[in-house]
Symmetry: C2
Subunit: 99 residues, 2 copies
């Protein structure tokens, strides 16, 4: 568990993984899809997630350049977990505003 949290225990990384659950995405797309994230944090988070074998970074030598990010198998294995987390939040947030 401590190892998991060493990899995922930040505010943004799980959100990045969740965003990639059903699509590949380019840097600019991630920047647009994830509200409030800064390009700097996005850059460093993507780099670390790649180092940890969770996402794959593919560079296409085109013009203008294109870089696509996708989940690896290890990363895809996290999708159900992230979805449950999103569901958990919806459930209990709905409960709170109902009070």
């Amino acid at each position: 568990m401590q190892r998991s949290m060493g990899i995922l225990g930040t505010r943004w990384k799980p959100i990045i993984i969740y965003t990639l659950r059903d699509r590949k995405a380019r840097f600019g797309q991630l920047d647009a899809l994830i509200e409030n994230i800064s390009r700097k944090v996005l850059t460093s988070s993507l780099k670390e997630l790649e180092e940890d074998g969770i996402i794959l970074r593919e560079v296409f030598k085109e013009l203008p350049p294109r870089v696509e990010y996708t989940l690896t198998e290890k990363g895809k294995a996290l999708i159900p977990i992230m979805c449950q987390l999103a569901k958990w939040n919806e459930e209990y947030y709905a409960e709170e505003i109902a009070l």
Copy 2:
């Protein structure tokens, strides 16, 4: 998802929740069960988790004083998620050391 991560997106909070998955525990027990955590972080994490409605803090007016921490319903709903996370880690860590 951003709200979830605002609550859980740290290195230690998920570990605390995971530790409480099958037992109530006292402050000193948590301190002993969770390796490497400092009392200070434990204190502040417990306080924040209580504010977010994930754990319950019960004070027993005994001598010496006793304080027990348990998961609320909202917190218990996270147990399967935490267990999956632990499982995810074991799976892929086993894979890595096999290489």
